[in-house]
């Protein structure tokens, strides 16, 4: 596949996907070794969606994420060491160990949190989009969510409000074919979730979510429309998660062959092949890989060496201190 993307952009897409994959494979192993408490939902296989969309964004744009949220924060510029520390439950983590994998957030990067209530982010992102619109900025706001979330009331209320208020909201549906264990054909009759845009008179686009260039181009178009005051877009990226819904998921609901077939459609290998065919020297890509390997090594060491939160802080940060109001 030919690409007309600028070389920097093309390499950024590669780097972002590789950072996500490397982070996820590392946390899978650390989780298995008992280093990471709680639940873990990995993004392995879906990297092209976060990378393609967030590469089309500016640092001051907003995103909101899901329970499967590491990839989105990485793609928005998240630091692997601060993320790893958060997953380890350390005080140096992005949320001081109070959010963990499912609530990791960095408002300074416009990342309004991983959100473990399916569908909830779709309505919240409209608030960020409203702020952008109200203040007269041209910032845009992206909600990531899955095929399962497209059946929640929140999703439908969100698209409708974004439509009537003409908000710069972009709804990115990561259709990985399963709502937890329930295959898409059991949870909705439509095949293309983007069709639901028609009900709200907004553009709906379906792209190959394992083709990072296709995701990026579709995102660029949606972002440009939103920035120009053209309103929201529903962008569906069809992809697949290679691992279980959560780490430890026995995955009795899908055949091994299906997983293997999708592994052959690896978005990162696919993009690497494209870049090599474009004349990018393999040494350049290998350097990126090596740099990420080192970054990750340092991130794990940082997390391991970071202090645990002070138990005395367990009830800190519930409320913002109220100074004399009046």
């Amino acid at each position: 596949m030919a690409t007309d993307l600028a070389r920097d952009t093309a390499l950024q897409l590669y780097t972002t996907m590789r950072r996500i994959r490397s982070f996820e494979l590392a946390v899978v192993e650390l989780f298995a070794r008992g280093k990471i408490p709680g639940f873990l939902h990995t993004y392995v296989g879906e990297e092209a969606v976060a990378a393609g969309v967030c590469t089309a964004l500016r640092p001051d744009d907003y995103i909101i994420s899901t329970h499967r949220g590491h990839g989105h924060l990485i793609a928005k510029g998240g630091r692997l060491d601060l993320m790893m520390a958060e997953l380890f439950g350390r005080s140096t983590g992005y949320c001081k160990g109070k959010g963990g994998s499912m609530h990791i957030a960095e408002p300074d990067l416009g990342m309004l949190g991983a959100n473990a209530i399916v569908g909830a982010g779709t309505v919240i992102i409209n608030g960020a989009a409203l702020t952008a619109q109200y203040l007269g900025t041209d910032r845009v706001a992206v909600a990531f969510f899955g095929d399962g979330a497209s059946n929640t009331g929140a999703f439908h209320e969100a698209l409708n409000l974004a439509s009537v208020w003409n908000l710069p909201s972009i709804f990115v549906c990561e259709n990985n074919g399963y709502a937890e264990s329930t295959p898409q054909h059991q949870h909705q009759k439509i095949a293309n979730i983007a069709q639901r845009a028609a009900g709200y008179d907004i553009p709906g686009v379906t792209v190959d979510g394992n083709d990072v260039a296709a995701v990026y181009r579709a995102a660029v178009e949606a972002v440009a429309r939103a920035r120009a005051g053209g309103g929201p877009t529903l962008l569906e990226a069809r992809t697949y998660r290679w691992r279980g819904h959560y780490e430890g998921d026995p995955q009795m609901y899908r055949p091994r062959e299906e997983i293997e077939a999708w592994e052959k459609k690896c978005p990162i290998e696919r993009w690497r092949t494209t870049l090599l065919a474009q004349g990018v020297p393999s040494a350049v890509l290998d350097d990126i890989d090596e740099h990420i390997r080192q970054e990750l090594e340092q991130a794990v060491a940082f997390a391991e060496e970071s202090p645990l939160p002070d138990p005395a802080d367990a009830r800190a940060d519930i409320f913002t201190p109220t100074s004399e109001v009046c």
């Binding site: 949320c95 109070k98 957030a105 929140a154 409000l161 109220t322």
Partner: protein, 327 residues
């Protein structure tokens, strides 16, 4: 001072805060041209325009979600849930999002979000438009809750809420909108977490919420004719709760009646009673009495609704019970 309705007091607070800070916006169903179901926001559209007074679809989840997201990114939204019963369709945004976002993010954001809603019965609005659900929210750390019982507090508590950097929920009482009270001409604020001693007395402490304050004052007049002196305390806010003022009164009287319109079982009276019991057990001369709705959905027919909801006579009876108690 000016004698104005509770409704006008709320509207004045909204107007003053909209004037004070461009970041303040209102979001809700039928709040613009229509002025809100209870006409609280009537006229604000003309004054501030549709950019700031924002009508929404009937989508409570979208309303509260947009308010949460706007608050997290720099605006100071005032969301309206038309009837507090309708929170039931959008609780996720209150319970799992607004109340927890700052904490989950390790304190990295503030959420200056105000939610106004109308509560209470006595209008034959039946089972889905009459409830008092404040206890649901008291159970959720991360929220601040007020139930103004008069025009002065309705204005002053709301103004404070809009400037608070945290999620606040104000339960206005739909039977109070037409009641009048003295309100200063100049701007003022009522701090949250300070109970109001509405009437001083020595024999029994009545802790009353929302429109049960008025019923308790009526009860106090009746009881005074019998020579019984009651102290009426309005906590005004449940979170934070000014337990100190309540305890000081209990230590003086030794007898307590807690009155709210919400049904007794699982009502906030249980929490207040537990705290009194823990901190002032040695001062109590009788079991703590709780007055509230009988455990039932709210009926439609007026004669049935009166059977379920508490009133001044319920308070009088409870005061008699606590005085008649023989240890």
């Amino acid at each position: 001072m000016a004698l104005i309705t509770y409704r006008e007091a709320v509207r004045q607070a909204l107007r003053e805060e909209l004037q004070n800070d461009e970041r303040v916006i209102m979001i809700g169903e039928d709040i613009a041209e229509f002025g809100g179901t209870f006409k609280v926001s009537l006229g604000l559209l003309e004054e501030f325009g549709p950019r700031r007074i924002r009508n929404t679809p009937i989508s409570e989840t979208a309303i509260l979600g947009a308010a949460v997201g706007a608050a997290a990114t720099g605006l100071r939204p005032i969301a309206e849930i038309m009837y507090s019963d309708f929170f039931a369709v959008a609780m996720d945004q209150v319970v799992n999002q607004a109340a927890k976002m700052r904490y989950m993010f390790g304190g990295k954001i503030s959420l200056p979000l105000t939610i106004r809603t109308a509560m209470g019965g006595r209008r034959s609005a039946a089972a889905q438009h009459s409830q008092c659900l404040e206890a649901w929210f008291l159970h959720i750390p991360g929220l601040k809750i007020a139930l103004p019982s008069n025009a002065y507090d309705a204005k002053g508590l709301l103004k404070t809420a809009v400037r608070d950097p945290n999620p606040t929920i104000i339960f206005e009482n739909k039977m109070l909108y037409n009641t009048k009270g003295e309100v200063p001409e100049e701007p003022y604020f009522v701090p949250w977490g300070q109970a109001n001693i509405v009437r001083e007395g020595k024999d029994v402490t009545i802790v009353a919420l929302s429109d049960m304050v008025d019923f308790s004052l009526k009860a106090a007049d009746k009881l005074a004719e019998e020579g019984i002196s009651v102290e009426v305390i309005d906590p005004r806010t449940l979170a934070p709760l000014d337990i100190e003022t309540i305890l000081a009164s209990v230590k003086k009287t030794g007898r307590v009646v807690i009155a709210h319109e919400a049904c007794v079982t699982g009502g906030v009276g249980a929490e207040i009673a537990a705290r009194i019991g823990y901190h002032a057990l040695d001062y109590l001369m009788a079991p703590i009495e709780r007055v509230g709705a009988k455990d039932s959905p709210i009926p439609f027919a007026p004669i049935l609704e009166r059977q379920i909801l508490p009133d001044d006579q319920s308070v009088v009876d409870a005061v008699h019970r606590t005085l008649d108690y023989a240890a």
